[in-house]
Symmetry: C2
Subunit: 183 residues, 2 copies
């Protein structure tokens, strides 16, 4: 078997990987993750061993600084873990291989953040609107607008309660009772 054939085989392998990595990063980009960060996750996913920052930098042809921030980004999303290996001084990172878990972590993190932002703002505004409605000084027209706004906010809060319960069922794995992993 010639060297040429090997080279070719390796090239074909890399190309097949690259296509999938591109798709992964495009996909992640849909949810506001940089394509570079997505490619890094893809590279880590296919890499057999955990990688150091320097290896990532060589693999993606980017600066070490970028690798540092990108990998931290992925860690925040729980898509990558730092691993320890005896005798290795550098930090090692590996991709979380369980995509079910990755999906759940990714969205529960974001959804909970969103719920928190919105619920606290809405509760605060709701209180203010009630004060406004109960205030005798308030113009009747304004009162009516405030009442409508209260209704809208209450409807939204009800939805956020639902979203919270959805997230709970993701986190607890209860969702897999309803939508099983394997058909």
């Amino acid at each position: 078997m010639g060297v040429k054939a090997n080279m070719d085989g390796e090239k074909r392998l890399i190309q097949a990987r690259e296509r999938v990595i591109d798709a992964i990063s495009q996909n992640m980009h849909l949810y506001g993750v940089t394509e570079s960060v997505g490619r890094l996750y893809g590279a880590l996913y296919f890499q057999e061993d955990p990688m150091t920052l320097d290896e990532m930098k060589d693999e993606l042809g980017m600066s070490k600084t970028s690798m540092s921030t990108s990998v931290r980004n992925l860690m925040d999303l729980k898509m990558v873990d730092k691993v320890w290996r005896k005798g290795v001084r550098k930090d090692l990172y590996q991709a979380e291989p369980d995509w079910y878990q990755t999906f759940i972590d990714f969205f529960t993190i974001k959804w909970r953040a969103g719920v928190n932002i919105n619920v606290s703002a809405m509760e605060k505004s709701l209180t203010e609107l009630h004060l406004l409605i109960e205030d005798n000084e308030t113009d009747e027209r304004i009162k009516n607008m405030a009442r409508v706004d209260c209704e809208k906010i209450l409807a939204a809060l009800e939805y956020y309660d639902w979203l919270n319960r959805l997230v709970d069922s993701f986190e607890s794995g209860e969702i897999f009772q309803y939508i099983p992993k394997k058909r």
Copy 2:
């Protein structure tokens, strides 16, 4: 009741709205939607009547061009509908008020797009990897790597099948059997 009190009431109302609108736009920003687009959705949500592009432009203090593209953006996400009103020549837009539906549309659109991107890339690469494995010319080391990659891709495809079924349960409303709207 003095004019001053009215003004004040209106200001308080607007402030309460503004806080919620900010939270909404921050939230939407988490998923890669521009903050301006988010604020526009928020404005439409609280506006009692459907709005024209010119009204939006005045409300947000931005160009009409931006309103045109932003509102189209929101329509693509099914967060805003164009409505028709007798005798009104301008296009009118209103926010979809049902947040359950908005949530479902938003994520099913994105998830389906992601599934399609990834599944087609993975199937193509999977075929190529199988050819590589079956090719006698291929170096054994490469074959082994290809086998590992195949496993990873198959695991991912299984996950995408699950995601597709999850999306189905969102679209059909079946999810509300498991996670009911009201407690």
